[in-house]
């Protein structure tokens, strides 16, 4: 077929209802987040000593750090969904939660005696945390991948991985109030592990579903 003929077919194709990519992704995020919240409310619920937690700086560090990770991941995912993305400046913001967490770890190491380091790191429910975060992240990741299919990412696997990171951030935000382990040593070990699992799944899903 000659290109001019091909163009004629394209030009005759009706204008679709304009897709608002940003809006779709925001909607996906909201739906996924609501689903994760429902799972959380049905299966987990906040921990019994939540009142004690609210008064602890460690508890708030955990929450703020989850948010500081979730926000740039989501914005980056949104940006990577367009082919002419310039993500560099935004990607730098992803360093912030790690700096914050590292500072928390340093303070924790200073205020807690060495004999307790290991028990704080392993915590009460390391396994539970590493399983729950990806479980809560799953609806968010699935919704994001569906929404991203109407985007045009130049790097499908990377975009999928970032969607995974965003979903892990959202899940951590939901899970944190239920997680009895507040020590930064615990958070710095198991939350990133759970996040890596989500990013791996996201990368595979991205490669499979986001290529165009």
């Amino acid at each position: 077929m000659r290109t001019s003929e091909f163009i004629a077919a394209l030009a005759a194709d009706p204008v679709p209802e304009p897709i608002r990519l940003g809006r779709r992704i925001a909607a996906a995020l909201a739906i996924g987040f609501a689903a994760s919240l429902a799972i959380f409310a049905l299966l987990l619920g906040p921990r019994p000593d939540i009142a004690a937690g609210v008064n602890s700086a460690r508890f708030w560090l955990k929450l703020i750090d989850s948010f500081a990770f979730a926000l740039p991941s989501i914005l980056l995912t949104l940006r990577l969904a367009r082919p002419d993305a310039k993500p560099r400046a935004l990607a730098l913001w992803l360093i912030a939660p790690f700096v914050l967490l590292a500072a928390g770890v340093v303070v924790e190491l200073m205020v807690v005696p060495q004999s307790e380091w290991l028990s704080r790191l392993v915590g009460a429910n390391a396994m539970h945390c590493t399983v729950t975060i990806p479980t809560l992240a799953a609806p968010v990741l699935a919704a994001l991948i569906v929404a991203l299919r109407s985007g045009a990412p130049l790097h499908p696997a990377l975009t999928g991985a970032l969607a995974g990171a965003a979903s892990a951030g959202a899940a951590a935000l939901i899970y944190a109030p239920s997680c009895p382990d507040d020590s930064p040593l615990f958070v710095a070990t198991w939350y990133p592990l759970a996040t890596l699992i989500c990013m791996g799944v996201g990368a595979i899903a991205g490669r499979r579903f986001l290529a165009w």
Binding site: M1, R2, T3, A12, V15, P83, D84, W212
Partner: protein, 173 residues
């Protein structure tokens, strides 16, 4: 012009696609030469890029310049096509503006895989695409000939183009 096209100005959209096809052809030609690939697949690269631009036009942000968006898609498609054909990866092109500014005449004899791909469509869809692209008929005339409503023809055309895009990805190995 892209704004007018998105708003539904068919003539403007056609002229825009023609401009883009010339730029992309120049770019693809340079990329193919650099990769040591023959000229045979250049029209495929151009058409595949045009189809991607068409199907993904909503990912262009009207607040941003159009050229980098077009170039990003074209480069993605050209690199993809070269890779699928088993040639070595091309280095990124440096002078985008130069390529975008260099219009080139279309080779009237350049046929492409698209015709082969048309065979994979359902008969009705194929009929519609052929009627509009190869025979140059309007939507209205095609609708009349096939005794379909214009809306049905438009929907069928849109589906056909989308499935063409999907088949294209899978078929070229």
């Amino acid at each position: 012009m892209m704004r007018a096209s998105i708003a539904g100005d068919e003539g403007a959209y056609r002229r825009l696609l023609e401009d883009i096809s010339r730029s992309v052809r120049a770019m693809a030609r340079a990329a193919f030469a650099r990769a040591g690939a023959g000229d045979a697949d250049i029209e495929d690269a151009v058409q595949e890029t045009l189809l991607a631009i068409h199907l993904k036009r909503h990912t262009w942000d009207p607040g941003q310049p159009l050229a980098p968006w077009v170039y990003a898609i074209a480069r993605h498609k050209v690199v993809d096509l070269l890779r699928r054909r088993g040639r070595r990866r091309i280095e990124p092109l440096e002078n985008v503006e130069e390529f975008l500014a260099a219009p080139e005449a279309e080779d009237p004899h350049a046929l492409s895989d698209a015709r082969k791909l048309l065979e994979t469509l359902a008969p009705r869809q194929r009929d519609i695409v052929t009627s509009i692209s190869l025979d140059g008929q309007s939507i209205a005339a095609t609708a009349k000939r096939l005794s379909m409503s214009e809306v049905a023809v438009r929907v069928a055309l849109h589906r056909a183009l989308k499935s063409l895009g999907a088949t294209w990805r899978r078929s070229i190995g």
